[in-house]
């Protein structure tokens, strides 16, 4: 395959891990890999190059504008200018979806979404996506000509350096967006967070409805902190308003693959498990012997979270 573009995003001043994952996969599939950035390219060129991007097409500062319409229009202009890639890979992220959605309408092309595996079969790209809570895998490919658009779930591929030299920075001008570009970010708020990010942490401790009440979630945070990990949640307690959506693990939340995942008071619905069953080791604490989570746990503890977790915290604190 000729050329794949990767929509690269920034997180905490660095290239987001999902973007590095996509670059690694793109290198396996294409002769030429290039990055597209809604923002400044200079600061990212070294890292993108080290992960295999030959060029970074950068729009420059979006001045508070949202990535969706700006980056999609800029990509279309580049394609019209003769620079069409065979495929564009996006992460299933806040901005990735926006850009892919806008682009799909502009190109009149579908997007293959929720992709967890990408391979080349008879010269065309095939994306695989889990359905029915991850119990069945469906593979899809485009049957038309044109640019293939893929939205890939984070943690599907491992990031890997290629040792490449810094990417060449090329300007990707944003055409006039008209009304579509009218939304402006006027302020940014960072929620206080300590410790590693949920989808990058080596240890994830998650709580579910079995905690009984919102206040008990602090126990999950304490345990996560003691293990140098991040705190996650089932959708049940996100929907109940106990914790923000950013904590949600599962089909409609984050996919995590830590070394250790500790599920506390979580039943193990398929939609939850699809987000964490790739973890290396799973520990589950649930008072119901029949809880489905025990079906995938390396260590299952039939017990009360209100007894087991505080003791665990105490014992870890005692070790200092």
């Amino acid at each position: 395959m000729g050329t794949i573009w990767v929509h690269a995003e920034v997180s905490g001043g660095k290239v987001a891990s999902i973007s590095l994952e996509l670059l690694a996969k793109a290198r396996e599939l294409a002769d030429t890999v290039e990055a597209v950035v809604g923002g400044e390219g200079e600061a990212l060129a070294a890292e993108l190059g080290a992960h295999g991007a030959a060029t970074v097409h950068a729009t420059g500062d979006l001045d508070g504008g949202l990535a969706g319409p700006a980056v999609a229009s800029a990509i279309v202009a580049a394609i019209e200018g003769g620079a069409a890639p065979d495929a564009v890979l996006f992460g299933t992220t806040y901005d990735g979806r926006d850009v892919a959605g806008r682009l799909s309408v502009k190109l009149g092309a579908p997007v293959i979404t929720n992709v967890v595996e990408l391979e080349q079969v008879n010269g065309s790209l095939v994306g695989t996506e889990p359905v029915f809570g991850g119990t069945v895998n469906v593979s899809t490919r485009f049957n038309g000509a044109g640019v293939g658009l893929f939205l890939v779930r984070p943690k599907s591929f491992a990031a890997e350096e290629s040792g490449g030299s810094p990417a060449a920075v090329s300007a990707l001008p944003v055409p006039d967006l008209g009304a579509t570009g009218a939304a402006r970010v006027v302020d940014r708020f960072a929620e206080e967070s300590t410790g590693p990010k949920l989808d990058e942490a080596g240890v994830v401790v998650s709580g579910g409805r079995g905690l009984g009440e919102a206040e008990k979630y602090s126990m999950i945070e304490d345990l996560a902190k003691l293990l140098g990990g991040a705190a996650g949640a089932s959708r049940a307690i996100v929907d109940a308003g106990w914790v923000p959506y950013s904590h949600q693990v599962g089909q409609t939340g984050k996919v995590v693959k830590p070394d250790v995942y500790v599920a506390c008071g979580i039943s193990g619905a398929t939609q939850h498990m699809v987000g964490m069953k790739g973890s290396k080791n799973i520990i589950a604490i649930n008072k119901d012997t029949e809880a489905p989570i025990f079906g995938i746990a390396d260590l299952g503890v039939v017990g009360d979270v209100h007894k087991v977790v505080p003791k665990l915290i105490e014992a870890l604190q005692a070790r200092g």
Partner: protein, 259 residues
């Protein structure tokens, strides 16, 4: 303020469907319900309409078999009327085709603001709202957790990886809302009775100026090459807590060199 809310009607997730082995698509012959994800958009629309003191909430849905069950639930919550697009030609329509249909249907209503959920519970492509915005030539804000409307614009708190962004956006605009951000009201008995007589505009794709080759299987532009069961993960050891389970957990964490 006139608000359109996209409401997807889906099979009950508690009773998941199965793939039709002949066509590799979801079998959908059971009664459909309102996707819970859309109940948040409906609630938000009702609150915004009531705060503005004027205007109407119009529901828009594309569904097979002239299904109105989910729309009636949202009308019972307090929405004013609904537009339903149902057409045999729509079977197998993908996200882009769905967005084309919804955008055309929205064109039949008055809309200062168009709300949708960030993703549906059964399809979860999460692209439809942004595609609708692009088709209508409108700005959009996805992943809203709070919306304030005043004089021709909205101020939206948009979820981000780090926290949230405050985004100002002139109307008309499309905004997608995440689950759990408001408490959807339960329909009252009066609401349920009133829903039965609220206006329901039922249209086919011809009424929207859409031809059959733009939707359905033909319009999709993609094909399924394989369907296979996902690999299973084996269960390990299960112990019952006798007051010392934490020690076993710590022993495992030590073995894994986490502590």
């Amino acid at each position: 303020m006139d608000i359109v809310v996209c409401v997807k009607q889906i099979p009950d997730p508690a009773d998941p469907g199965e793939l039709d082995p002949a066509t590799n698509t979801l079998k959908r012959d059971m009664k459909l319900i309102m996707d819970e994800s859309d109940s948040y958009g409906v609630e938000m629309a009702l609150q915004l309409r009531d705060a503005a003191g004027d205007g109407e909430v119009t529901l828009v849905s594309m569904a097979p078999h002239e299904e109105v069950n989910g729309l009636r639930s949202a009308l019972a919550m307090g929405a004013d009327k609904a537009i339903l697009v149902s057409d045999e030609a729509l079977a197998g329509t993908d996200a882009l085709g769905t967005a084309r249909v919804l955008a055309a249907a929205i064109g039949r209503a008055q809309a200062d603001l168009i709300l949708a959920a960030t993703e549906s519970s059964d399809g979860y492509t999460g692209t439809v709202p942004e595609q609708v915005a692009e088709l209508l030539g409108l700005p959009s804000v996805t992943f809203a957790k709070e919306i304030q409307a005043d004089s021709g614009e909205v101020l939206v708190k948009r979820q981000t990886e780090a926290g949230y962004d405050e985004v100002r956006c002139p109307l008309p605009a499309v905004v997608s809302v995440t689950a759990g951000v408001v408490e959807p009201r339960y329909p009252s008995f009066k609401g349920i009775m009133a829903a039965k007589s609220k206006p329901m505009d039922q249209v086919g794709i011809g009424d929207l100026g859409i031809s059959a080759d733009q939707v359905g299987w033909a319009g999709g532009g993609q094909e399924i090459t394989d369907v296979s069961p996902a690999p299973e993960r084996e269960a390990g050891e299960i112990i019952t807590d006798e007051g010392d389970a934490h020690e076993r957990i710590i022993a495992l964490l030590e073995e894994l060199r986490i502590v």
